[in-house]
């Protein structure tokens, strides 16, 4: 971090770009790059047997080979695709669905609000992992079903958050002025209210990407997410757990999950410190 004395250079860096945010951005960018470029490094095919089984890390296979002779490094890098994709889809849909329902509840009130918020209460009454497991077990194994289960668990958080925001913003004077000018309800909600509600939702979403990656990997680890040949991190750790003495099988994907989640947590944590004045320290 720059010293406080370096005042003239302060303008060069925006206020939100603090050390944790930079660190988070670096780690997250690394994994996005890994996901996009996994095929370009001339690595072994992640799905095919390329060497002898259960080889410890070596110059040829940096992270060793698994019980089927597949290259762990290649599988770990390819695994970034599944984790990032499921996280983006789950958080994206949960934010969209939750925000929509929460905004309507806060804006319309009445039975819409009662209905939505009681449903939110019920879903939030479940411990997240257990509900995700129950939903995934209901739908059957598969990455898509795991995504649906995670969305089912996650949307109420955003509904509650968005409703609170809308209730707060709609009492402000510029909204009253807009109403007095005869602005139509849909436009009032979209232009005059929602445009002021997104900051806490986005911070929460950043924090949640890491948690979704963790939980998605956990579902795959249990056997409810990605199915066997897929190089998904949770499933790879699950396979590593059955080959207990070949520690390297689980090491790569485990470090991958740890670093990518840590990256998103640094990012979200740092952004919250900057944007949320109350916790600014």
């Amino acid at each position: 971090m720059a010293e406080a004395g370096a005042a003239p250079r302060r303008a060069a860096r925006p206020a939100w770009l603090t050390a944790p945010v930079i660190l988070g951005l670096i780690v997250v960018s690394f994994w996005i790059a890994a996901a996009l470029s996994a095929d370009l490094w001339g690595l072994a095919d992640p799905l095919r047997m390329v060497a002898r089984r259960l080889q410890p890390p070596s110059a040829e296979h940096w992270l060793g080979t698994d019980a089927l002779g597949r290259d762990v490094l290649s599988r770990t890098l390819h695994g970034a695709r599944f984790s990032l994709l499921i996280a983006v889809v789950v958080v994206g849909v949960a934010v969209a669905l939750g925000s929509l329902l929460g905004a309507l509840a806060g804006f319309l009130g009445g039975w819409v609000e009662t209905g939505v918020m009681r449903l939110v209460d019920v879903v939030l009454a479940f411990p997240p992992v257990l509900l995700a497991m129950a939903v995934a077990a209901t739908l059957g194994p598969g990455l898509e079903n795991a995504a649906v289960a995670l969305i089912a668990v996650w949307w109420p958080v955003y509904a509650r958050l968005m409703r609170g925001q809308v209730l707060e913003v709609r009492t402000r004077e510029h909204v009253e002025a807009a109403v007095a000018c005869g602005v139509r309800p849909a436009r009032l909600l979209w232009k005059h209210i929602l445009s002021l509600c997104w900051t806490p939702v986005l911070i929460n979403a950043t924090m949640d990407v890491g948690q979704v990656i963790l939980l998605a990997a956990a579902l795959s680890f249990i056997g409810l997410g990605a199915t066997p040949p897929t190089p998904e991190w949770g499933a790879m750790i699950s396979a590593g757990a059955t080959q207990f003495y070949s520690w390297w099988i689980a090491f790569g994907p485990g470090m991958a999950i740890l670093t990518i989640v840590l990256g998103f947590n640094f990012l979200g944590d740092g952004l919250r410190d900057v944007l949320d004045a109350r916790s600014e320290r």
Partner: protein
């Protein structure tokens, strides 16, 4: 405040009914055919046997009828029969509950003590390397997949170094009379069996550490924040001006007030512990409800997984209720009611 507590208490049955309805909905949309679980594959072509099984398990009734029966059964603690163990789910859960509670309690103990210690240290040496290290430790705690950390620590500390025993609640060959509480540590103390207590504790160390780490992070962040708030206040300055030692200021004056917001988080972190216990138990072959849930989910044993989920939701709701009430009682500045929701 009494009105608030009453309203929260009255909302509980309604919430539980909502939870039960959600569970019933899940059991209706599942692809797992309950018939194939009770009728053998060969008998599925025999209409008589199928009809008898349907009548026996109530599958011939209408959906609303089944819903009412389901809710009434739940209210009486009947969660149905596990497809996998062929025993009542409630019995399975009751038999495994002490193992989970013991693990969660020790994890909570570790998480709270280490979290408070780290939080106080981070606030005292604010912006120093200690503060940064505490933040990193906390963030790692909430970023790591427990099912992997458990695996790695088990490999290093148990297999490679041999400092700690392997998975399980007790050594594989140890046979002890089951005690009255089901908590191995408490039963050992009651029986005055110190070897047994040592064994139980040595088996608890690793899973409790892995599970409690996430809680450490949450609590240390909060304690640090509220300590920094409190340390700026006049009465702390007064205490310092009167010549109170730094230790007395930190622990006697500041921490006591900083603990009020922390209380809530300790209650809410119960949710993290339930979540983590599910995965930690799998890695450590811990015979609790977490590993039961995972085994049930793996075999698509629907009644069992729903039963665990319902018990988890009830525990979750009760702990949140208790926490909120405790918070209302301890913090007179908070006023409830009036506002919506």
């Amino acid at each position: 405040m009494i009105g608030y507590i009453l309203r929260r208490l009255l909302a509980m049955p309604l919430l539980l009914l909502g939870v039960a309805t959600a569970a019933f909905f899940l059991s209706q949309v599942t692809k797992a055919d309950p018939l194939s679980a009770v009728v053998g594959e060969r008998q599925m072509n025999n209409p008589e046997i199928v009809a008898a099984a349907k009548a026996r398990w109530g599958l011939d009734r209408s959906v609303p009828e089944r819903y009412v029966i389901y809710v009434v059964n739940l209210a009486q603690g009947d969660f149905g029969t596990s497809f996998r163990t062929r025993r009542p789910v409630a019995e399975d859960i009751a038999a495994r509950l002490p193992a989970t509670l013991e693990l969660v309690l020790f994890a909570m103990l570790f998480g709270v003590t280490s979290g408070v210690a780290l939080g106080v240290a981070a606030a005292h040496w604010r912006d120093s390397w200690i503060d940064h290290a505490a933040r990193l430790f906390a963030l790692i705690g909430s970023s790591m997949p427990v099912f992997w950390t458990g695996l790695i620590l088990l490999y290093v500390l148990s297999v490679a170094l041999g400092w700690l025993p392997g998975p399980g609640r007790m050594d594989a060959r140890a046979a002890f009379e089951p005690g009255p509480t089901g908590f191995h540590t408490v039963d050992a103390v009651l029986a005055g069996d110190w070897r047994r207590l040592g064994m139980a504790l040595s088996h608890l160390v690793l899973p409790a550490f892995v599970l409690g780490w996430a809680v450490t992070g949450i609590i240390s962040r909060l304690v640090r924040g509220s300590m920094l708030d409190v340390l700026e206040q006049d009465y702390v300055r007064t205490a310092r001006a009167k010549g109170a030692g730094e230790r007395r200021v930190l622990f006697g004056h500041a921490l006591r007030n900083a603990m009020i917001p922390t209380l809530t988080i300790i209650g809410h972190s119960f949710a993290y512990l339930i979540t983590g216990a599910v995965l930690t138990e799998t890695i450590f072959a811990w015979p609790g409800i977490g590993s039961y849930a995972v085994d049930s989910a793996r075999t698509l044993d629907h009644p069992a997984i729903i039963g665990v989920t319902l018990v988890g939701a009830a525990a979750f709701l009760l702990s949140n209720l208790a926490t909120d009430i405790a918070y209302a009682v301890f913090n007179p500045r908070i006023e409830y009611g009036g506002g919506r929701g």
